[in-house]
């Protein structure tokens, strides 16, 4: 005999597993600190590449002037400035990533908790 409640629950669970749940289960497999650390690390790499691209574009934008000033400028001060900008970019992007990932992780855990609760409910329906 078909059990309508069971079918509805199974359909909901299957839809969750096929959609949002797929990504959530992956995130849920991490410990909170591991997940956030990995994401922040990825962000540092991404921000570094993005900074390098923008810096290269900046140099190329004013290449002639830069080449003229290269021998006159204080290279140490220039490098310090670049490093400060790099640090500000990477740190601010890393902090933003930390906040977003913390929020995302807690949301995913809540969602997975509901999913596992429904799984248990389905199991109990089968045992009835």
């Amino acid at each position: 005999m078909l059990n309508e409640e069971r079918i509805i629950l199974m359909t909901k669970l299957a839809a969750y597993e096929a959609g949002e749940g797929k990504q959530n289960v992956k995130i849920g497999n991490y410990f909170r600190s591991d997940y956030i650390a990995v994401q922040v690390l990825k962000s540092v790499v991404s921000a570094s590449i993005a900074f390098a691209l923008v810096f290269a574009l900046y140099i190329f934008y004013d290449m002639e002037q830069f080449m003229q000033d290269l021998y006159k400028m204080d290279l140490v001060a220039f490098a310090r400035n670049v490093l400060i900008w790099y640090g500000v970019t990477v740190v601010s992007y890393g902090v933003a990533t930390y906040i977003i990932c913390t929020y995302r992780y807690s949301r995913v855990r809540r969602s997975l908790k509901r999913y596992y609760h429904n799984l248990k409910k389905l199991d109990s329906l089968y045992r009835e």
Binding site: L2, S46, A47, I49, A50, L53, V54, L57, F60, Y61
Partner: protein
């Protein structure tokens, strides 16, 4: 209203039946239009401006994830830029990479927003985007809308500077690059547009989630007013040469599109709102339940018409066994238990018969087919 609700249910039914063909078809159309617009507006690489290539790529996009439309569109635009001048392509590549590395990581599912924003800007109806995004997506979509506007202004800067870039010689590489970069960074219209759209998305999102009656309509109107005010203030401050009539017409269109989205996503009957209050050991609950408007499609299916066999006719009165399924007609009601469950359960199975089969097995089998 009942007619509209029935129409909505019909559309839903058609979509759920033909989803496997409709989704790829819609993706194909989106990719096809996007690539055609790119070829039409840029079109510097004549080899790419070929309908066969566009069709093949659009066909590929229809079966690949929707993010691939962005990938191919970016590739097409970069190739056109490269044909114009490699320096332009370099700027485009840098901008795309920065967007990909910094922004798309956090909203990878908003690829449609990134594609549709520049597309609707080209079609002169960009004001639909912040309203629709605020209604359908979350606050993170602000990033996607901003990226879409950046892409539109990058492309329009290149289109406007194309003749100047062509006139420049090979040795003026940095001048070409500077022309494009300045064109983007000094573009006050882009900044005003990004600010207006970002704030509008947030306003619409926040208001539509409020627990007040007609929150979606309030959100749409407030969003449109916010958008208009910011664009006008931006125009006053930075002289963005804004066309007030196009903003007003676009806003009316945005409202219309918003109402259509509301009809499909959030069609509720506020006249039957219920407010309940209860408590358990730990909390007091103040619950406001607004029933969804829904209507079941009327269907009539004749499943089986059995002629009496000679043996049966001799034993019982003559007649036919006709099983008819009907579902509820025209009355809309609530389905508070979610998932449109009420809609599918409102049908009833009626057995018109000249006889009831003796062996209950057959009868049960017919009913079973009817109900499931």
């Amino acid at each position: 209203m009942t007619g509209l609700l029935e129409f909505r249910e019909k559309l839903k039914r058609i979509y759920s039946k033909s989803e496997f063909i409709l989704t790829p078809l819609l993706k194909f159309l989106l990719a096809f239009v996007t690539l055609l617009v790119l070829n039409g507006k840029l079109g510097y690489m004549t080899k790419l401006d070929n309908i066969a290539i566009v069709l093949i790529v659009a066909l590929m996009c229809s079966f690949l994830p929707s993010g691939c439309i962005i990938l191919f569109a970016a590739l097409f635009s970069l190739l056109h830029m490269y044909a114009l001048s490699p320096e332009t392509a370099l700027v485009g590549l840098c901008l795309y990479l920065v967007m990909f590395l910094l922004f798309f990581r956090f909203s990878p599912r908003d690829s449609l927003v990134v594609i549709l924003t520049p597309l609707l800007c080209v079609l002169k109806i960009p004001y639909v985007i912040p309203i629709a995004t605020g209604l359908i997506c979350g606050p993170a979509s602000v990033v996607s809308v901003g990226c879409g506007i950046c892409i539109y202004y990058l492309l329009s800067t290149i289109i406007n500077s194309a003749s100047t870039i062509n006139a420049m010689g090979e040795d003026e590489a940095t001048a070409k690059l500077r022309l494009v970069v300045d064109g983007i960074l000094d573009n006050k219209s882009m900044m005003v547009m990004i600010a207006a759209f970002a704030i509008t998305v947030l306003v619409v999102y926040l208001l539509r989630r409020m627990s007040v009656d007609h929150s979606w309509s309030i959100a749409m109107i407030a969003g449109i007013l916010t958008n208009i005010v910011i664009l006008l203030v931006g125009d006053l401050l930075y002289d963005t040469s804004l066309s007030v009539s196009s903003v007003l017409i676009g806003s009316v269109l945005a409202l219309a599109v918003g109402k259509v989205i509301e009809f499909f996503r959030f069609c509720v009957d506020y006249s039957r709102t219920e407010k309940v209050q209860f408590e358990d050991d730990e909390y007091y609950y103040y619950v406001k339940a607004v029933p969804k408007m829904s209507v079941s499609l009327s269907t009539k299916t004749v499943k089986k018409i059995n002629s009496q066999t000679a043996g049966q006719r001799s034993g019982r009165a003559s007649g036919r066994n006709v099983v008819v399924e009907r579902s509820g007609e025209g009355n809309y009601g609530s389905s508070r238990t979610g998932a449109g469950r009420g809609n599918y359960r409102s049908g009833r199975s009626v057995v018109y018969n000249g006889h009831i089969p003796d062996d209950g097995q057959d009868g049960n089998e017919d009913d079973y087919e009817e109900l499931f």
